[in-house]
């Protein structure tokens, strides 16, 4: 075991391989509060990459309803239960990661889903949590019932469990962009990666006999375009870019700004130790203990920052850039109530007004001599 630094848990940890960060790391940010679970992202991915035999059940991208939804069944509950209590002291995680709690003779603490665990991709969809005793409809006009949608793809982790678990060295992390891939010419289908990935984003293909996973749409990334699931998001809640380590964070990098500078976007289950590279602006209406378990101890602060974003010109400006271009945004600026996105070369990608102009039309159209009706 090597010692590597995981900034998400604020300490060094054990990992099978020496820490070698890529030249740059692809990352994404999701604003959970905007998602309507339309699954356009899911289908954009599905039709592009997993329409072949053996891939029927694969959802490299999925959107599930939390807390009752999972794909596969119970993926988060199972690993969190296996890991045991997870304790934080401030920003430092003092519990064990899945690498540090691997049983003797194993590389990673994991579990392997059964085929039927994949049979319910819509389980718990739109189901709420809460009961009358917490303030039901008969007692309160605003009951404390809650749910939110969680959009998930491969996290292209800095310390991938799938990579650590593969005894064939068939999984690798690309040095140029940090995308994690399964070498389809080497994989022998041992499914150790399926067992190890706590997010369950590696799938076994019974037709080819190999394991397959999200490829980050790397042909698009190489061309400067956003991945299919990012580009297709009609809720405009996704932002794809590059993340730095905290000490190298740049204020004009949109991902760095949201993750490191404002600390408003948080990784999913950072205590597992993989340093995942997808970040979530947590939902504003879910109970804090649940958010802390899912997104770490900074979740309550992130919610407060998000609630106050309307008073913050830069943050508000950056949020309107989400979903405003199908390109990868490397830099941004907010000037004169306008948010501007740039690519790697500094070329302007898109310019968006932070506040949409409001035009109030008179109730009568004088040109046509008709009364305007609000048909919506």
């Amino acid at each position: 075991m090597a010692r590597v630094h995981n900034w998400q848990i604020g300490r060094e940890m054990e990992y099978l391989h020496e820490g070698a960060r890529p030249q740059r790391q692809l990352a994404g940010v999701f604003d959970i509060n905007k998602c309507i679970a339309c699954q356009t992202c899911t289908l954009a991915c599905k039709t592009t990459w997993t329409s072949g035999p053996g891939q029927e059940y694969m959802l490299w991208n999925n959107v599930e309803t939390k807390p009752r939804g999972f794909y596969p069944l119970g993926y988060d509950v199972n690993i969190l239960t296996a890991l045991g209590p997870q304790r934080w002291e401030g920003d430092r995680y003092v519990g064990k990661t899945i690498f540090e709690s691997a049983p003797a003779g194993e590389r990673v603490l994991g579990w392997r889903p059964e085929q039927l665990d994949y049979a319910h991709p819509n389980i718990g969809e739109d189901e709420i949590l809460g009961n009358v005793s917490q303030g039901g409809a008969f007692e309160d006009t605003h009951p404390q019932w809650w749910m939110f949608y969680l959009m998930r793809t491969c996290n292209h982790c800095t310390y991938p469990a799938c990579l650590a678990a593969c005894s064939r060295s068939s999984i690798y992390k690309r040095p140029e962009d940090g995308i994690v891939l399964v070498d389809q010419s080497r994989c022998r289908g041992y499914q150790e990666c399926v067992k190890a990935c706590p997010y369950k984003k590696v799938y076994f293909n019974a037709h080819t006999g190999t394991s397959e996973k999200c490829i980050g749409c790397y042909p698009k990334i190489e061309a400067g375009d956003a991945s299919q699931c990012f580009a297709a998001c009609i809720g405009k809640l996704r932002l794809q870019g590059w993340i730095s380590t905290p000490e190298q964070a740049r204020e004009d990098n949109p991902v760095d700004y949201l993750v490191h500078v404002r600390k408003m976007a948080l990784p999913l289950m950072p205590q597992l130790g993989l340093e995942p590279n997808l970040y979530y602006i947590p939902p504003i209406h879910a109970p804090e203990p649940y958010l802390v378990q899912m997104f770490g101890p900074r979740a309550p602060e992130a919610v407060r920052t998000y609630r106050a974003a309307r008073e913050d010109p830069v943050l508000k400006g950056l949020l309107v850039l989400l979903g405003s271009t199908s390109k990868i945004i490397s830099k941004f600026s907010v000037q004169n109530d306008t948010a501007i996105a740039f690519d790697d070369s500094g070329t302007e990608l898109v310019r968006v007004p932070v506040r949409e102009p409001v035009i109030i039309r008179p109730p009568t159209d004088r040109l046509y001599q008709i009364r305007r009706e609000n048909t919506t």
């Binding site: 035999p53 029927e56 003779g105 005894s167 064939r168 010419s185 289908g189 080819t208 006999g209």
Partner: protein
């Protein structure tokens, strides 16, 4: 006294020929003796009568516990090995107890399998544990997987699935179809020979120079077939003699072999296997028995 003479002859014959033929059970010591078969070598028939001519050697298996991930729960305790050759091919017949026939690979569904390991070159023996780095450490592996005997694993895994029209199959033959195949079945497009064979046969001949280095052998020729009967697997694995590097396996040679077996329903796959641990001497007899 005269009536006893035939019995005495039979007893003497028992000592000099196969102990199995006399019903005394397999040998648990000494080399595996590969004899020249009298007739046709049964290289794809594990239940052929010719196998009764071959001495039966029982080998104790133990869980692989050297290289993670290990096998924490023992599965198949013993494998019985017989070997025959015809001067051109050598065949191994392996038999072990397994009440479940796991003949399918799928999601969290592992297949039964077995492998024979042979040194890749003459000289000092390589590590019996998948060999070691370098030419002198190379081993040849003959591998059989029950799941590969199924020509259509998708139909077997999902017997009730509705008819599906996949994009590649729906497209006309040509570059567009090739592109769709590349996109949706990347392992097949990459020419990965270690996965589902789709009728290519259940055997795979490989080379290795240490853990995690298994790769297709330069000479891929192999014959393999398994039959599950009454709680037993009977599997034959065969390859041409003289094709292993510097003909380490040839009539008249004394060499060694090692074995591994996987019980699919016990979750055995990859390094999670039962193996013989050390080399077992293999004597390839030049003539007949």
């Amino acid at each position: 006294m005269r009536p006893l003479q035939p019995l005495l002859c039979v007893a003497l014959a028992c000592l000099v020929t196969s102990a199995v033929a006399c019903g005394s059970g397999p040998s648990r010591e000494g080399p595996i003796e590969s004899r020249r078969v009298a007739g046709t070598l049964p290289k794809d028939d594990p239940r052929a009568a010719a196998w009764s001519e071959a001495p039966d050697r029982e080998i104790d298996m133990m869980p692989q516990s050297v290289s993670p991930p290990i096998l924490s729960e023992p599965s198949v305790g013993r494998v019985r090995v017989r070997s025959l050759h015809d001067g051109e091919w050598i065949a191994f017949r392996l038999e072990w107890d397994d009440t479940t026939e796991d003949a399918l690979s799928g999601v969290s569904r592992m297949s039964d399998a077995v492998a024979v390991e042979l040194p890749g070159a003459r000289g000092p023996l390589p590590s019996p544990m998948m060999g070691h780095q370098g030419n002198s450490g190379r081993v040849t592996i003959l591998y059989w997987r029950a799941g590969w005997q199924n020509a259509d694993p998708m139909a077997a895994n999902y017997p009730n699935r509705p008819p599906v029209s996949y994009p590649a199959e729906a497209a006309a033959e040509g570059p567009a179809r090739d592109q769709l195949r590349k996109q949706y079945t990347p392992a097949l497009n990459a020419g990965n020979p270690t996965v589902v064979r789709h009728g290519d046969g259940p055997g795979f001949r490989a080379e290795a120079e240490g853990f995690g280095t298994l790769s297709p052998a330069a000479v891929p020729e192999i014959s393999a077939r398994g039959i599950h009967e009454a709680g037993h697997w009977y599997v034959v694995l065969a390859m041409p003699i003289g094709a292993v590097a510097t003909s380490v396996v040839a009539p008249g040679q004394d060499t060694s072999a090692a074995f591994a077996v996987w019980n699919g329903s016990a979750g055995n796959i990859g390094g999670r296997k039962m193996w013989s641990g050390n080399w077992v001497p293999l004597k390839i007899v030049a003539g007949g028995s």
